[in-house]
Symmetry: C2
Subunit: 421 residues, 2 copies
Amino acid sequence: MKKIGLALLGLGTIGSGVMKVLNENGELIKKQEEIEIDVRKILVRDKAKKRSVEIEPSLLTDNYDDILNDDSIDIIAEFMGGEDPAFLYIRDALRKGKTVITANKEVIAKHWEELDEEARLSGAGLYFEASVAGGIPIIKPLRRSLQANRILKIMGIINGTTNYILTKMTEEGRSFEDVLAEAQKLGYAEPDPTADIEGYDARYKLSILSTLCFRNRVPVDRIYCQGIKGISADDIKYARELGYGIKLLAIAKKENNKIEARVHPTFIPLSHPLYAVRDSYNAIFIKGDMVGDLMFYGRGAGDLPTASAIVSDIITAGQNGKHYYVKFDQEEPKFEDNWLSEYYMRLVVKDQPGVLAEIAGIFGRHNVSLDTVIQKLRDKNNATIIFITHKASEKWISNAMKEINASPSVISVESLIRVEK
Amino acid sequence: MKKIGLALLGLGTIGSGVMKVLNENGELIKKQEEIEIDVRKILVRDKAKKRSVEIEPSLLTDNYDDILNDDSIDIIAEFMGGEDPAFLYIRDALRKGKTVITANKEVIAKHWEELDEEARLSGAGLYFEASVAGGIPIIKPLRRSLQANRILKIMGIINGTTNYILTKMTEEGRSFEDVLAEAQKLGYAEPDPTADIEGYDARYKLSILSTLCFRNRVPVDRIYCQGIKGISADDIKYARELGYGIKLLAIAKKENNKIEARVHPTFIPLSHPLYAVRDSYNAIFIKGDMVGDLMFYGRGAGDLPTASAIVSDIITAGQNGKHYYVKFDQEEPKFEDNWLSEYYMRLVVKDQPGVLAEIAGIFGRHNVSLDTVIQKLRDKNNATIIFITHKASEKWISNAMKEINASPSVISVESLIRVEK
């Protein structure tokens, strides 16, 4: 029976979850996996703080060196969150030859190469299943089940808070502000919800996923990012009429060594399996050149789901002992900003003859062809016009929108949302 | 660079798919996985037959001994289908110490222990990712990503043909017979569709999945099985009105060492992610005690998706060299036949006073309480009554149905379909 000396960095929600998994299923793991996981130290800020799990007080330390210098500790599991000091702690552990399991999306997204290199040098392992989509197995399946594929496309709902908000807005017809306030009250959204609603959280995760899938570093700053603040109940209503729902999607594609990566609110068909991903659930849609479309669905956060992923990594690391390095493609990819997509847009215009012809003319001059045009909801002198375009480049759309914005017939551009199928 | 000598048993749809994956992505696999897969022999029935892939004729053999006695062959990949002679071929390969990759659900479902034992004795490996749900990674994630969980429940759409038929019936309002005939014409259903539409195919796969999840052998003959022949367009219409869709589900649960396993048409809520699984797609819903609900979605059949799973197994086997044995629970489970579920039922009754009270009385006497009752569609002297029950045991339902069938007020019991949420 292999015995693993484990240290935890952090004893908040996730740390307590890990303790609970080990307490409840440790015997099962011992029997099935022939591995015994022994928690030897836990780094906390305040040793005297009351904990939701019962912990032997001698395990607690507030000094990281106690862990780093303890030779009986083979694996360090980190879930403090944030870049600092987690990055340094992880780096120092790897330097010492200790394997690291982390749920830290920010550290992996920002410091992948450096940490990978440290692990390679010392022979330690670096595992991060829990850094993307919580309990959903995605990193390991990508590495160990899809080796025969080139991954062509990723489309993910990888932020639970925004999916919860959009689901409530859709199913209850409520406004963004209203649902956000409720989510904050219930603890589903942070007091400062910026990282979630602006898409930054999803961006870190997409950086990790696309780096792994495309075997090219996809740095965070190469990922276009737009949050859900601008989504109105009206857009959700119109979307539904047109056969679509609105989701915050993290999308990445690679073709002919060109990569595009972006996080933004997106129209997807009501019949798409991602549309059925409700509440705070996450799901990752993957297209491989051989396997076709796949989707992985589950809890993207929460103590026990995240702990399930962390403990799985601990077992794998304990059994293999060695790191599964990513071999990056030699060829540098091009990052494409001028991607093609279909667009939904909603304009309020003056209700007078010739306006539709004028706008259609602007689109035409900028190569943007139209799939659907609906004019509705006249009130007094105004009309609302909704367009869905065929595929058009970002530049064409941006040029057309400049002209449309400048037209005296156009009162306002209410929304502009990309469509994916 | 590790070099693997591979033999293929079969060169039909899947065999050709494997050749295509190796031809197109062999270089990628070499670079990423540091493994070179060299096809050294292919067993075929007719060496002279024209093939859809280009094959060096010297690779073909019609004599299995040529493969079994070739020491340069490390791994044998089998996709002939059927029990005989595939089972003997696999067994003999394992006896010789050759690792086997198989897509053969029937052989694994029927001969798991025997083959596992052969592999254990010789040190060979036995891998069967492709035997369940084609290209969807499910066997490996269960083994390698969910080790920290007790799996409580499996609900799968694991037969593409029946899902295709039910999708068409749902979306186009057509009859079972009509859609089946079309599916046969298009090649989506076999000329003899029995194994698919009666649920036998799904039953093999559920046997494998539940054996793996519960760490107890769940033999095929312990799985209740009912096909989709009895589903009418009317039931699908009523289901929708009540907020449900109808899917052929493979369901297995384990609680307190009691296992129930069954394949049957099932009402599931329209909001359930399994409902969004359309056409010939497959999906497997898993509930773990720590991770909560997960779903794995993708192509359950087809040349390239299945080949993706097979080649992944070949790579894993080539890298690890050794078998990942399942450790079965020591304790013998009980198989529960008298499970609890909710029921939908549709009766045609005489349109006369007191009938509803009479039927409700029968249910009441057999402990079956009712959630929903709808009476509709009177024509002349008849009325249709639709019930959805609360949870009731199979026995209670069966006893109640006997009495209902015998009542002179009841003209016919049109359907009886279980509900899962």
